[in-house]
């Protein structure tokens, strides 16, 4: 074979091989936002970004959707190695402190951002007290609270308890509903709570648990914690709660929403982000409503929370990132986002004005009305830097008690030890 011809072919093959990696080319700046979906918000965001891209043909924003269970894990590895995405929707801002992009120089009006982001949210992204940066905006505000299936109550002829009822009263009523309606083919469970320590916090705080010491460390073993833990373990032992929610996993968040959507659950302890999900997936199958958080001796609180959209400092295009963030947080756009996704607003101006929801405004307003009654301890826990770790420890250790692997005493001891080790490691 002709050697020169051979060489030419080799060069061509090599060139093709080098061109193979898919990468953005030309003048278009491609930005990536890592996202997760609870319901339809990814589609809504895409729609809003399409409009932005039409106005700015030189910027393209790609949404990379990952499973929520993997979200923080993946971001952790990327952030640590300098490979963070341009933007991301997250729920644990404390995990990446110091790695966010300060948007102050890149947004048109920093004062608008400072005026409209709640202080606690702003602070949760700042590295320390001296830090005054703006690193992201609230994608949604959430409050934990229970839902009930009204139709089931009506069919069973059980009266819905009063607004100030305790957990015991609510569960007794829900059990009466379940007993009236269950048969061999359909099990209707009285009560369920999502598999996360975050859902546990609200009921336990209402029942007088205290977690945070004066020096910022945690104390787990309080009567309120015990009575709440015993209550939830009891739901499992008595078969009141579907076993696979807390029992089906050893390390993940698991929602009980499918049971509620399927009409098999009377009382469901979850939170405001489910409204959009229920609106699309329950439709007119049955009537449901939001009820106030059940009362304990110390109050009737839910726990605040929410997702944030943040920008990361690794980005090569801070100006374009600023433009995208500015667009997404502009009042009209974020108002439309909240209205279409049925999310509670995290934008102070819109909290005041109210959001014109496309549907289910009643349920969302029920959640919004809980906000003034949230206990200060609930905020403190939510924005404590080790809050997510406490959440995980409660979740996994109580699961072990439910599975019969240890006693509640041992579990409490373990959670305390896990937390102490964490604080010790942080201080050394």
């Amino acid at each position: 074979m002709n050697k020169r011809f051979a060489f030419a072919v080799l060069v061509i093959v090599a060139l093709i091989a080098m061109a193979l990696p898919i990468s953005a080319q030309g003048d278009v700046v491609e930005l990536h936002i890592t996202w997760y979906d609870d319901g339809t918000e990814g589609a809504v965001l895409r729609d809003l970004l399409d409009r932005f891209e039409a106005e700015h043909p030189n910027i393209k924003v790609v949404i990379d959707t990952v499973a929520y269970a993997d979200l923080h894990t993946l971001l952790q590895a990327q952030v640590e190695t300098g490979e963070a995405p341009d933007m991301a929707r997250i729920t644990f801002p404390a995990r990446f402190l110091g790695n966010y992009l300060d948007l102050t120089p890149y947004v048109a009006d920093p004062q608008y951002w400072l005026d409209n982001i709640p202080e606690a949210v702003l602070g949760s992204m700042q590295a320390d007290a001296e830090d005054t940066g703006i690193y992201g905006y609230p994608t949604q505000f959430t409050v934990t609270g229970p839902f009930i299936n009204v139709t089931l109550f009506e069919q069973a002829g059980v009266e819905i308890p009063a607004d100030d009822a305790t957990w015991e009263e609510w569960v007794a009523a829900a059990t009466a509903v379940s007993e009236a309606l269950s048969d061999s083919e359909t099990t209707i469970y009285p009560v369920a709570i999502d598999r996360t320590g975050h859902r546990f916090w609200g009921p336990s705080l209402s029942r007088c648990a205290t977690y945070i010491n004066e020096d910022g460390t945690f104390t787990v073993d309080t009567p309120g914690f015990r009575s709440t833990a015993e209550m939830i373990i009891g739901w499992h032992n008595d078969g009141l709660m579907p076993a696979d929610v807390w029992g089906g996993s050893a390390g993940n968040y698991v929602p009980a929403a499918p049971y509620f959507i399927g009409g098999q659950l009377v009382l469901y302890m979850s939170g405001s982000w489910q409204v959009g999900n229920f609106a699309t997936n329950i439709g007119d199958l049955f009537d449901w409503k939001v009820i106030p958080n059940p009362s304990g001796d110390c109050g009737a609180t839910g726990v605040p929370g929410g997702a944030l959209t943040v920008a990361f400092a690794d980005t090569e295009h801070p100006e374009e990132v600023g433009m995208v963030m500015d667009y997404l947080f502009s009042e009209d756009v974020i108002a439309e986002f909240y209205a279409r996704t049925l999310f509670l607003p995290g934008h102070l101006g819109l909290i005041e004005k109210g959001v014109a929801y496309e549907s289910n405004a009643e349920a969302l307003n029920a959640f919004a009305s809980m906000i003034p009654n949230l206990m200060p301890e609930a905020y403190a826990l939510q924005y404590h830097p080790k809050g997510p770790d406490l959440n995980t420890a409660i979740r996994d250790r109580l699961s072990q008690v439910i599975a019969g692997e240890m006693t509640l005493d041992e579990a409490i001891e373990r959670i305390q030890a896990d937390m102490d080790a964490l604080f010790a490691a942080a201080s050394s």
């Binding site: 061999s184 089906g248 699961s399 599975a403």
Partner: protein
Amino acid sequence: MTMRRAEPRRKKRRMNELLERALFRPYAALMTLVEVVIDPIQRLIGQRRMGYFFVLPNLLVFGIFILFPMLLNFYYGFTAGNSILPQNREFVGTANLEALFNCTDFANPNTCQHDRFWRAVGNTSGFVVFQVGIMVIFALITALALNRDIRARGFFRGVFFYPVLLSPVVVALIWKWMLQPEGIFNGVLVSTGLERMDFLTDPTQARLWVIIVSVWAQMGFHTLILLAGLQSIPKELYEAAWMDGAGAWRSFRSVTLPLLMPTMVVVLVLSLIRAVQVFDQVYVLTTGGPGTATLYMVQYIFQTAFDRRDFGVAAAASLVLAVVLLFLTLFQLRLGRTSEIA
């Protein structure tokens, strides 16, 4: 009759030849092209040293992406901190290993500092014993059935092999869907008037189903290897045994089993290693639950590193796992030698 049969067979052979040529031509052309670059290398380093050249590409990829990370992991095992970067990690000696082995009573994980680790060790041991045992027995029965003089052997062989091709994620999702409380199994139970069962939420049942699912997914592979072993046993031996008046059971015990032993050893060791490494399928199926009933070694390491960000303890645990695997490898090499003699 014979004529008619020969016709398609000849056609088939011609097809195969054509196909081979179609594949070989571009292959030969490409390799000749590469020769242009490589022959000068041979002239440069000499024929004797070409061995190095051939090993080099594989060795480079292996060294950078497998060996180096392994050594780095080894180092992680002796450091503490939350950072991924080795230069930001503090050297703590054997503290991580000591913490792992900090138990007052090794029989009771609750008395250990890292109780989840010891639960994972216990669970993995149980899984390995039962999964390998059950799988090898069923693979052997299936291979014996397929080795009989049956119709449609190719079809049946394919059926048993099919799940092997499915990804762990897909396998887990398929079974999760069937085992969920409202799934087909409970549907059948309730329809026949029985009580519902907690397949994945009762600790004992969950362990059982995890084993069943992995046997389902992997059995076909080992069946094929055992079948190959069975088919390599000369027919004359059975005839001789039959002449000696041996019944089916005796000829199985005195001919099949001893001659199948080398293949059995291969199957045993391969399935043992895979069982120790059990991870992704179970991760999607039960995520280790209920409680920690199906938490196995690799998941423990993965979660300790990624969810708890305790890379030091995770790496130390992986060192323990590596020692176990090394032991199994040596075991295999030893058995391999004895089976060669046999």
